[in-house]
C-alpha cells in the first residue's frame, strides 16, 4: 500500500501477511461451503427423492383422467357398431370382423397417443423440478458471493414452469363407421374396401358397410 514506510517496519508487513492468510482461510471455508451446499442440493433433487415413483404418480394421474374418456368413447363406438351391424343383419359376418378390427386399431393407436402425451407431460414435470434445482444452485452461489447476488439482482429469477396437460374433454377419437348407408352418401375413402369386405363376407351381395374418414 502506498505511503507505508520501508520493509523494516515489521508490524505492517506482519499485518499484510496476516490479512493474506485470513483471506486464504476464508476462501477455503467458502469453497467447503459451496461443496457441501452443492452436495445437499444434488441429493435433495436427485433420484433418491425425486425418483421415478414421484413422476409416475403424475403420469398415472393424467392417464387416470384421460383414459376413461377414451374407453368411454371406444365403448360407445363399439356399441354403435354392434347396433348398426345387427340392424343390417351383419353381426356374424366377416364385415363385422372388419369393423371390429378397425375399432381395435383406432383404440390401440389412440391409447398409444394418450400414453405418449402423458409421458411428454411428465417430462415437463421433470423440467420443472430441474428448474427448481437450478434456482437452488443459483441461490447457493449468490449466498457465497455477494457480487453474483448483485449482478443477478437486476435480472428476474427464471421461475419454474410446468406446462400442464390439456385437461379438457378429448376430441372424438374414433372415426364414425357408417353401416347400412347407401353408397351414394358414403365417403369415397374406404368405400371400395368396405363394400368388398361386405360382399365377400356376407355372400349375399347386398347391403353396404362404409366408413367415413
Amino acid at each position: 500500500m502506498g505511503g507505508k514506510s520501508g520493509p523494516s517496519n515489521n508490524q505492517m508487513v506482519q499485518f499484510e501477511m496476516q490479512q493474506a492468510q485470513e483471506a486464504k482461510d476464508k476462501e477455503n471455508k467458502r469453497q467447503a461451503r459451496l461443496d457441501q451446499g452443492k452436495g445437499v442440493i444434488d441429493d435433495l433433487f436427485g433420484n433418491r427423492n425425486f425418483g421415478d415413483d414421484f413422476y409416475d404418480k403424475y403420469r398415472n394421474a393424467e392417464l387416470d383422467y384421460t383414459m376413461p374418456q377414451l374407453t368411454e368413447q371406444f365403448t360407445e363406438a363399439k356399441r354403435g357398431a354392434e347396433n348398426d351391424l345387427a340392424r343390417a343383419g351383419l353381426l356374424r359376418s366377416g364385415a363385422a370382423g372388419w369393423v371390429q378390427g378397425k375399432l381395435t386399431n383406432q383404440m390401440g393407436v389412440n391409447e398409444a397417443g394418450i400414453r405418449a402425451k402423458a409421458d411428454t407431460d411428465t417430462s415437463e414435470l421433470r423440467k420443472s423440478i430441474a428448474a427448481q434445482q437450478q434456482q437452488a444452485y443459483n441461490q447457493l452461489y449468490q449466498t457465497e458471493d455477494p457480487t453474483v447476488a448483485a449482478n443477478t439482482a437486476s435480472s428476474s429469477v427464471a421461475n419454474a414452469q410446468l406446462t400442464q396437460p390439456n385437461v379438457g374433454a378429448l376430441d372424438a377419437m374414433f372415426k364414425p363407421i357408417a353401416i347400412g348407408l347407401g353408397s351414394a352418401i358414403a365417403p369415397v375413402v374406404g368405400q371400395y374396401e368396405t363394400n368388398r369386405a361386405l360382399n365377400s363376407s356376407s355372400g349375399r351381395g347386398q347391403g353396404s358397410l362404409t366408413t367415413s374418414s
Binding site: Q11, Q19, P146
Partner: protein
C-alpha cells in the same frame, strides 16, 4: 594551536549533527507510532467488516437453507396431496358428490320425469346407474385434481416452489446488496494511508552543521598552513 573560531565551528557542527540525529530518531519513533495506529485501525476495520459480512452471509444462508427445507420431496409431496384434496373438494359439484354417496333425493332429482312413477325395481336400477356414473365421475375429477395439483392451480406444486424460491431469493439479494455496500465502505477504509512524518527543519540543522564544519575546517586549515 587551533584558533577559537575553528573550535567554535567544530563544536557547533558536532552539536548540530547530534541534534539532527535526535530529530531523525524522533521522526522514526513518530512514524513507527503512526504505523502502529494505522495497523490497529486497519485491523479493527477488517475485523468489523468480516463480522458484518459473515452476519449478512448468514442471513442469506438462512433464507437459502430455509427454502431448501421446504422443497424436500416429502414436503413437496405433502403439499401436492393437500392441494389435490383441496381441488377435489373444490371441483366436485355438490349434487354429484351427493349422488355418488347415494343420497336418495339427489339420485331422484337426476331421473327423467316419467320414471318417477315407475316400479321400485326400475327406479332402483336407474338410480344405481346414476350413482355408479357419479362415482366414476368423482374418480375422474380426483384424477383431474391430482394432475392440476402439480402445476397451475393456486397452491400447486410449481407455484408453491416458485413462491418459496422467490422469497429466499429476495433475502439473498438483500443480503448481497448489503454485503456489497459493506465491501465498498471497507475498501474506502483500506485506502486510508498511515500518517507520513516529515522532519521540518531537519535540513536546516544539517545545513548549519555543515556550515559549522566548513568554518572549523577553514580555521584548522589556516592554522595548519601557519604552523608549516
Amino acid at each position: 594551536m587551533c584558533d577559537p573560531i575553528s573550535m567554535i565551528g567544530l563544536a557547533f557542527s558536532i552539536g548540530m549533527s547530534v541534534y539532527n540525529m535526535q530529530q531523525q530518531q524522533e521522526m522514526a519513533n513518530q512514524q513507527e507510532s503512526a504505523n502502529a495506529q494505522w495497523v490497529a485501525y486497519q485491523r479493527r476495520q477488517s475485523q468489523e467488516f468480516q463480522a458484518r459480512d459473515e452476519a449478512l452471509r448468514k442471513n442469506a444462508e438462512a433464507g437459502r437453507t430455509g427454502a431448501l427445507d421446504e422443497l424436500t420431496a416429502k414436503k413437496q409431496q405433502e403439499a401436492q396431496e393437500n392441494e389435490a384434496a383441496r381441488l377435489k373438494a373444490s371441483l366436485t359439484p355438490e349434487q354429484l358428490a351427493n349422488q355418488a354417496e347415494g343420497d336418495p333425493n339427489a339420485l331422484a332429482s337426476a331421473m327423467f320425469s316419467g320414471q318417477q312413477n315407475g316400479s321400485k325395481e326400475m327406479q332402483s336400477a336407474v338410480q344405481g346407474h346414476i350413482q355408479q356414473a357419479a362415482i366414476d365421475a368423482r374418480k375422474r375429477i380426483a384424477a383431474l385434481a391430482e394432475v392440476q395439483s402439480y402445476g397451475g392451480s393456486q397452491y400447486g406444486l410449481t407455484n408453491r416452489a416458485n413462491t418459496i424460491l422467490n422469497a429466499a431469493g429476495q433475502d439473498i439479494r438483500m443480503a448481497g446488496n448489503q454485503r456489497g455496500g459493506q465491501l465498498a465502505a471497507y475498501n474506502v477504509a483500506k485506502a486510508v494511508e498511515p500518517i507520513k512524518i516529515t522532519q521540518y527543519g531537519g535540513s536546516a540543522a544539517g545545513g548549519l552543521a555543515g556550515a559549522g564544519a566548513q568554518i572549523a575546517g577553514g580555521g584548522l586549515g589556516n592554522a595548519m598552513a601557519g604552523s608549516m
